[in-house]
Symmetry: C2
Subunit: 346 residues, 2 copies
Amino acid sequence: MANKEVIPNTQVVAKHNVPGIPKETDFYVRNETIALELDQGSNSLLVKNLYLSCDPYMRGIKEQGVEEDRPSFFTPNSPVIGFGVSKVVESTKVGFEVGDLIWGMTGWEEYSVLTNTDRHFKINHTDVPLSYYTGLLGMPGLTAYAGFYEVCSPKKGEYVFVSSAFGAVGQLVGQFAKLMGCYVVGSAGTHDKVEQLKTKFGFDEAFNYKDEPDFDAALKRYFPKGIDIYFDNVGGKMLDAVLLNMRLHGRIAVAGMISQYNLDQPHGITNLMRIVFNQIRIQGFMVFDYYHLYPNFLDTILPYVRQGKIVYAEDITEGLETGPASLVSLFVGRTSGKPVILVSRD
Amino acid sequence: MANKEVIPNTQVVAKHNVPGIPKETDFYVRNETIALELDQGSNSLLVKNLYLSCDPYMRGIKEQGVEEDRPSFFTPNSPVIGFGVSKVVESTKVGFEVGDLIWGMTGWEEYSVLTNTDRHFKINHTDVPLSYYTGLLGMPGLTAYAGFYEVCSPKKGEYVFVSSAFGAVGQLVGQFAKLMGCYVVGSAGTHDKVEQLKTKFGFDEAFNYKDEPDFDAALKRYFPKGIDIYFDNVGGKMLDAVLLNMRLHGRIAVAGMISQYNLDQPHGITNLMRIVFNQIRIQGFMVFDYYHLYPNFLDTILPYVRQGKIVYAEDITEGLETGPASLVSLFVGRTSGKPVILVSRD
């Protein structure tokens, strides 16, 4: 144990519990050190982190009268936890070699020791940007793929609505729906995002929900014949309005309800009766249930990405110290694409 | 046309629109006549009605700001419409003979002319009570069968909750769940119904929801490990409490939301976020989508009924004139079984 090489390891650390939407002042950067060696038989990986991902589910979630039982991404005085792209520096795990590129959960630091790597994937295709494995080709991409193809059971010609459509998942759901021959409308929170949805991502229509005092009226304008599929990222008032506009046998995939996570009292959904009259299915889902589809997903999406038929927007900032600001930008809607932190190019 | 035999035809008729829960005074009995002959080529049936069914969906439904587009069972100055068991007296429809017994939609009158018989089934098994084809062996039975086996995807040992469990559908869902080896709890609105659920219908537990100020606490008492399957007939507050108690990958089949149909403002469901965290599926369904399963359903259930392994409670009143009171009894919970009107024994 005496011969381990010890090197500096900068970290982004939570100062304290972060119960709601994170602020930059909830975090600080500290300079630690790390030994570049693993204990034999530890079945773990020592990795160098290259890209780190900022995702909506990283916020704390407040639920009235209910214990919080999700894993926390922000443990006081520990590095932030999140998805990332990393390079293996040492390995005591069978099947992983020094130099392998992987994606999965890691720490917001230069080097991490990963003891639980059951949900890490090796990266075999490096002709596309490595950072894409934090989004388009990683967990958000698989979320869009599983949510749309598996949960929504889409058919050509159907009417599809995507909320939070400029997000990493929403962008891709819309493009999958277009590839399938659906009519797709997305909602987002700035004029610029709305324009990009129409011009860059190929949505048939898009609207700024902040400009719509009456979501039901907005949806009736864009979907005069109703909605077959709703890919829900926000919940709340928008979901309630969508229920009034769902067609017979409609399907709602709920990937998240970000409008509701930090309210003292969630919006009460009053139109749920519609699910009986119109025989609607609502399915909450998490991507972990669909990890077995990752190879199929890559086989499907990589050719489209290489041909430019699926596009993707990232907002990459350089340096671990940009992490807190990058994360916060996600929650205030101040992004021009999926926020990614570049820690190291190799 | 001059030679048709014309005979009396007593009818139960709606006086006016019946927007909410029906009252006895919304109806009257009148004596009409009917010609016992059909026009050639009319592709219709003249039937003598034997048993008429009172079902929860027959009430009017009030939805805030939304047009009512369901078919009405109560058209002013016309006989009430509902499910029933009838005998064919004349037929101009291929495949239907005089003397055939059928079940499906008919009128609250002694004789009816049925012009749309696509959703009528012939009754081939008469060793069981004919009245059962308004319930256990008819539409409510098929609703329970399709809702439980098709929508809920049940597995042995799962925890099942049924609301409105003493209703024609609920009784049967509970018995199906027991046959599958599930743990089953039902809720009902009187002490007597609760007792019968436990003693006669074999539910593991049952409770009177009117005695429970806190549905969440009640559910936690009966389901300390949570609920895998909720067969929902009531919606509203109970559904909201159930959402707090659903297990991972739980399924909720919504056959109706009777607690909500006549409110000025529906109860706002605030716990829908749970469907994401616990990956829950909520499916609204109507039995018409599962009519193709009727033969399978009968093959499954008839042996159980003959062996007494599935039991059933009816509340039969005799005479068309008992119809309004029988119907009203359903909505005030004043029944000792599924309300059925005996019009004629043959």
